[in-house]
């Protein structure tokens, strides 16, 4: 019997698990995919927003500001790539300038530090590659970029190290409640719990409905992004947002990633299926036009890939956080559209408070592991490289040429508290295969290392989710 079962291990579930694992509780995390952070957490723009976008007085506004304040120390402690960068919203006509003024006023009310209106001249001085047609903008110095899946991985790994139990490939199919105990039926067995935290992202409406909940049925909005080669990154120094005239959409952004790539996007369109991550040629062409209007010199021959991300939208214009009025001891952390990533650590703390108010006894552990450090070969100085290879020769074999990732790092990642079971799970943890050749060269090598370390046949290794098999059989076995 679990004290708390968390449904979903994206950034929200991971953050909640991390906070809750400080306490003497039996915590279970149920994740439907075969890796954490596989939903919206994997496919977003990785931006920690300054907070001027949020309507003042909402939970979004409060947790956005609080969340980004907590993020810096959290990322440092848990070794997550984080970089503070200013945000700039740019306007190309008077109507957009009016919107900028609205955002400015919101920012002031929300307490965004250092926010100010910025002139055309200052924009072009800071960002000479922005189109000269810009007429003015908004400037906020306290935004940041983060590695979103590493954030979720770090938080959930730490939770697991502190005793939380994570179940991957475990999809919740039904929940019933009897004698104040939840019975959760999943594709991987049954679980009992006193409290449930619903952090199921795109599927949180369905989980809520399983306990008879009502009130927020999802529609889904998606956005596509372009990822450019690192050689395009020198074109911008901050997070440049074009001024969106659509509500619920923050505008197309051109910005660096923590890995040194340039990213641009998203666009904004509705989808029916929360797992429909297909990109579309015409939409992408339209997006390209919009991007070039803001930074005209981006070289689209330098694209490495495109991806789409989906998040839910409800009829409620705020996060949906709290004990469900339909079901006691069922805590919603739902309605997570932007700024979900930014707000996550603050939402996790609120989740703890809500559970306490709902009757859960919380007493702090005496010992809590609160740091995490990875070995990233390419970032070490020469002396450290020499010593590391002497100690463990696997750090001397570079597997991914484009990103200089060694076999030592890949093997280490495979033996961490949350075991990656797919090629993409390795990519996300080690950066191998993220570079120019997109794993063309290192793919087979990573594949064989993963099979070896997991003790399975290479035929059993998947590319990403369950079912994404790579190989169909050995050669020379045609007739059999």
């Amino acid at each position: 019997m679990y004290d708390v079962l968390i449904v979903g291990c994206g950034i929200i579930g991971a953050a909640a698990a991390y906070e809750l694992s400080r306490y003497n509780l039996k915590i279970g995390i149920l994740e439907k995919y075969n890796d954490v952070a596989n939903g919206a957490t994997k496919a977003n723009n990785a931006i920690l927003h300054a907070g001027y976008d949020c309507v003042p007085g909402t939970l979004e506004a409060k947790t956005n500001l609080e969340g980004i304040r907590l993020a810096k120390t959290l990322c440092e402690k848990l070794d997550v790539e984080y970089r503070q960068l200013p945000a700039m919203v740019v306007a190309f006509n008077e109507r957009q300038m009016e919107k900028i003024n609205v955002l400015y006023k919101q920012g002031i009310k929300n307490g965004v530090p250092g926010i100010r209106i910025i002139s055309r001249e200052e924009i072009l001085e800071r960002e000479p590659n922005v189109s000269p047609k810009v007429i003015g903008g908004l400037f906020a110095p306290n935004a940041a970029i983060v590695n979103p899946w590493e954030y979720a991985i770090a938080l959930s790994e730490t939770a697991v190290r502190n005793g939380a139990e994570l179940y991957l490939s475990t999809e919740v199919t039904a929940i019933s409640k009897e004698d104040d105990v939840f019975k959760v039926i999943t594709t991987n067995g049954e679980f009992l719990a006193k409290y449930i935290v619903n952090a199921a992202g795109n599927f949180s409406d369905r989980i809520h409905e399983m306990v008879g909940g009502k009130g927020f049925h999802h529609t889904y909005y998606a956005g596509e992004y372009y990822v450019f080669d690192k050689n395009q990154c020198r074109l911008v120094n901050s997070l440049i947002f074009s001024c969106s005239e659509e509500s619920g959409f923050k505008g197309t952004t051109i910005f660096p990633s923590v890995h040194g790539n340039l990213l641009a996007g998203p666009n904004f369109y509705q989808v029916q299926d929360p797992e429909d991550l297909a990109t579309d040629g015409q939409r992408l062409a339209e997006l390209k036009k919009n991007i070039l209007e803001v930074v005209p010199c981006i070289d689209f021959r330098e694209t490495i890939r495109e991806f789409a991300g989906i998040r839910p939208s409800t009829n409620i214009d705020d996060f949906i956080v709290g004990e469900s009025p339909y079901c006691p001891k069922f805590i919603n952390l739902a309605g997570m559209k932007s700024p979900g990533l930014s707000a996550a650590p603050a939402l996790a703390k609120i989740c703890v408070d809500v559970l306490r108010d709902a009757g859960l006894t919380l007493d702090l552990k005496d010992e809590f592991i609160d740091t995490r450090k990875r070995i990233i070969f390419r970032e070490l100085d020469e002396q450290s490289k020499i010593e590391l290879v002497k100690k463990n020769p696997l750090y001397g074999r570079v597997i991914c040429r484009c990103e200089t990732v060694t076999e030592g790092e890949i093997v280490e990642a495979i033996h961490r508290p949350i075991v990656p079971r797919s090629i993409d799970a390795i990519k996300r943890r080690c950066n191998a295969g993220m570079g120019r050749c997109q794993g063309g060269f290192c793919g087979p090598a990573i594949h064989m290392i993963l099979a070896r370390e997991l003790g399975v046949s290479p035929l059993d290794i998947v590319m990403d989710e369950d079912g994404t098999y790579i190989l169909t059989g050995p050669t020379k076995e045609v007739a059999r």
Binding site: E275, I304, Y395, R401, T406, C437, P444
Partner: protein, 422 residues
Amino acid sequence: MKYDVIIIGGGPAGLAAACGACENGAKSVLIIERAKELGGILNQCIHNGFGLQYFKEELTGPEYAERFINLVKDLPVQISLDTMALEITRDRKVKCVSSTGGYQELEAGAIVLCMGCRERARGAISIPGDRPSGIFTAGTAQRYVNTEGYMVGKRIVILGSGDIGLIMARRMTLEGAKVLACVEIMPYSNGLTRNIVQCLQDFDIPLYLSHTITKIIGRTRVEKVIVSRVDESKKPIPGTEIEFECDTVLLSVGLIPENELTRAAEIEIDPATGGAVVYENLETSVPGIFAAGNVLHVHDLVDYVTEEGKRAGAAAAKYALGEHRSGKVLKVESGSGVVGPVPQLIRLENVAKSQDIFFRVRNIYQQANIRVLDGDNVLCTFKRNHMIPSEMERIRVPRTILNQAVSDRLVLSVESREEEQA
């Protein structure tokens, strides 16, 4: 540790560079190779067609590689396998790492860059659609099938009719898969006619010219692809969609020289070739650092790679022994119909009897003239009867002709002879 010549890469270019360096006086040569064996990409190219020019024999990739691996065994060449070069510096130091040798910093009298190239992957050419597994570049599939011994799919559509795609069409068929189609965006195939016949026609695999894959569909694994005809500007024509039910897509859509190390050392790169800008002796913009093979410009014949490797090795040895080049420089530029001439710079006093210039043409030419222009003046003309973009061309320009140049730039251009007559 100091070597006369350090060669980065032990594929055909690097092996040839080692031979060229030793033949020209280098006493200590080191090849740094990231794989556990020499041979580079040739090890997985188990098909025929290599060596027709160089050895006057038709060899498979591994056989061609083994010839040079055996030659190098008898030369003063040290080989560091399973070793990755991490950085090269402008003063010719090489930082590398291996599991057995640890992290090392080496010094070279001269360096030859022979890192080869990589394949263009899906995102770079933006095929819209789902993100299923089952999409491979042809070379990655080739590695799985030929070296690791695993099949990557049962029903296959190939995008790109370059030789790698054609070769894999045959390879997959011989291993029991069904290849449904080869789809090529241009109105002509990029591969050798011999491969069209022996890889597609032999197995009744249809070739769709002026077509491209416009969508990939599949939730977890590829389930189907949509192929459309394209117009002259390569845009898909609505209404021409053909659907193929398949589980695998092989991409053969271009090769890109692998110049991470080159860029990091701030060696000048030519955007037209994707490789370094080089002088007549294959020296890059940094003295003492040379380049050869696919890292310099993507070749179609390994025989040319060998020749180029040997010349670079020879020049590197000479540099290491104190022969440093300078002098008046002629720039070589592309005129109409021409792209990516190599070398891009010629130091006239270092050309002996003649200078070979390699380039590609932009179109198909049946009867054409290649002209070398100095301003308006035609210095010389070469007649060719059959030129296509997928076959690298070579002209040999005599020193006496180069001496006549008055300006500091030569322009190569191609005109079809019919235009001339018209």
